[in-house]
């Protein structure tokens, strides 16, 4: 017992200060993509370098973060250094369209007032892993550790869909998981929300056109898309907090 108490002192308080402070991210972290139209020569090398066809070249390159696996190959291929990934982890959006950089990206807006009234101070989530590689699941799991301490915001992952207000989906939704996902969604009492976490859940990611994957069925409406492969835990946390109106929402584009 005395050892356990001594350990408690040694291990200290370790919860990140977010959203009150700015957390430290590693210097090489690949977050929000930035495309400098002045520098861009429209050579198309970034488009060719992308393994998941997240980039398209119109008047200038656009990056669909729903598809992006943040591998950074495009930035390495860009001789003009017009494309880079910054350390800004705030990426999540309410719709897939709002995940297109640079011009369409809009950070998550809060739920509508009726839902906010119900969920803002207490949101119970059920997680379903549907064909992912377990990295999204791992970095969702850590939200419940002392580091991110999701519970302090009234958000909690629960065991039964019957106890849940929302579903957090990871993975490209394999054929073998499609029915289980639909059944779980249906078991949630209304009103309910859905979060798609990670490139696979947002768009199919690496597995987007595989015959073995299906994507989230149209019958399951998604309120929050969190990009990343996997998303950084702070990206998920930031998205959830914004959805719940816990971070002031600056309207309009960034």
């Amino acid at each position: 017992m005395i050892k356990a108490l001594a350990a408690r002192l040694l291990q200290k308080h370790r919860t990140v200060s977010y959203p009150d402070g700015k957390p430290q991210l590693p210097p090489l972290f690949r977050g929000k993509p930035e495309i400098d139209r002045e520098k861009c020569t429209r050579c198309g090398k970034c488009v060719a370098a992308c393994p998941v066809q997240a980039l398209s070249l119109g008047a200038f390159p656009r990056l669909d973060a729903a598809r992006c696996i943040f591998c950074g190959e495009c930035a390495s291929a860009c001789a003009a250094q017009a494309l880079r990934f910054t350390d800004d982890f705030r990426l999540a959006a309410n719709t897939r369209e709002k995940l297109v950089f640079p011009d369409s990206h809009e950070l998550t807006a809060p739920l509508d007032p009726k839902l906010l009234q119900i969920f803002a101070r207490s949101l119970k989530l059920r997680q379903v892993s549907a064909g992912g590689c377990a990295a999204c699941e791992a970095d969702t799991n850590v939200l419940s550790t002392v580091v991110f301490d999701l519970g302090r915001f009234g958000v909690q992952f629960v065991a039964s869909p019957r106890h849940a207000d929302g579903l957090l989906i990871t993975g490209p939704v394999t054929k073998n998981m499609e029915q289980a996902l639909i059944s779980t969604y249906e078991a949630l009492p209304a009103p309910k929300i859905v979060i798609a976490a990670g490139a696979c859940a947002c768009s199919g990611g690496l597995f987007q056109e595989h015959p073995q994957t299906r994507g989230i069925p149209a019958s399951i409406p998604v309120s929050l898309y969190v990009p990343g492969c996997p998303p950084h835990p702070l990206t998920i946390l930031d998205g959830i907090l914004r959805l719940l109106g816990r971070i002031p929402h600056a309207s309009g584009k960034r």
Partner: protein, 489 residues
Amino acid sequence: MSAPVKSPARFALKDEPRLKLDEFRGRVTSSVRSGNTLLMLCAMPEADGLHLCAALGARDQGTIELALSERVQTSYWALTPDCPQAHLFEREIFEQHGLRPEGHPWLKPVRLHGKDSPAGPYEYFQVEGAEIHEVAVGPVHAGIIEPGHFRFQCHGEHVFHLEISLGFQHRGLEKALIENPARRLFYMETAAGDTTIGHTLAYCRVAQSLGDGATGKVTEALRATALELERLANHTGDLGALAGDTGYLPTMSYCGRLRGDFLNMTALLCGSRFGRGLLSESGVKHQLYEKTAEELLKRLKDTGRDVENAVNLLWDTPSVLARFEETGRLSAQQAEELGLVGPAARASGIDRDARRDFPSGYYLSRRNFQPALCHTGDVCARAKVRWMEIKDSLALLKLSIPHAIGAPEETPLSKFAPESIAVAVEEGWRGEICHLARTDSGGGLDYYKITDPSFKNWTGLAQALRGQQISDFPLCNKSFNLSYCGYDL
């Protein structure tokens, strides 16, 4: 069968004799009986039809042998009755190619469900009796965890038999990585997300072997650093989760945080907590600078101290040990017969670790390395092996990090050797990962097989649960902590 070669091993297809099926069978079964490991068994499509292919690992020599059979028409005599290690490989061969292993005692689906599987719908083994009941769990579980289905045959709390049916995560990875070379490296990074470095490294070895690549000490020290950080993060997380499953919250909370600290160290190397974007076929994509190395070593010292403090609480807490000890025992004989790998095998006293047995890269310089071993084969042993391995990895990193500083030393790969087979073995944190690749006449990959350690170890978990209480399942499951997607691919 051509001469055995060190891992990563390359074989020219034209030099490989096509053994008569009886001879192939005899070679494989006698090799395994003499103590070798069946690293891989698969059916390879060639111009004239399907041929069986086995990769065998001789640990005492540190070499890999390849055996290829003559063409198989529609069925062959199963190896499994004489060589239980082959059981799941043969089920996979049946599922993927429709080749029936005659006499296979347990020919059920592996990954495909319902009418997709040649083995038909999954039929669970049932124990009959008036007071017998069945418990079905999954695919959706009560936590943030991958999907799988567990079926228990119980009498009260007592479990007679557990059957595990998987495939819910099946993404068609092995086929896709042939069809889409631009995504190949990224598919490897996601074969099992928590083993990004392990799987990608096995692939890099295969690619280097086929493309005549060469890496120097700096590159290999950085690769080993990433592999050991992956081991540290996962082992620490597992010990925390084991503590959680016994209801001991201090170690659970501390290790939950400390696991993240190790992941953040990997992010220092490449920006990603899982090591995404660190490795390339020819070497590494990032350079380790002296300042980062200093920061890494400092963090390792602090985190290592905290992990030691958190984990040692377990061994001082009778309520934890009472749950750990003698729960989920797996004998050395069972582990050996099933061909278990990694910490689960070492906890049952099976002395195997690919870092020593099939070393490559940085591990070639650590030949005197002794794998962590326990002998009781219970949850406690699986926890202790992890703790010993954490200490070993911390010690190894102190050596490897200073060597990893500086410009990567690597030569670009040439075009892959045509009509060849390459086999590589790496010790991921769950155990041996084996990758096998074949090239066509133009040097393009036309066949690829991945064996995640989970593929070999899931049956070990099912066996360990026999005679246990059903309430012991979460603890036993966590003590193996196997990958669903690594199995499902």
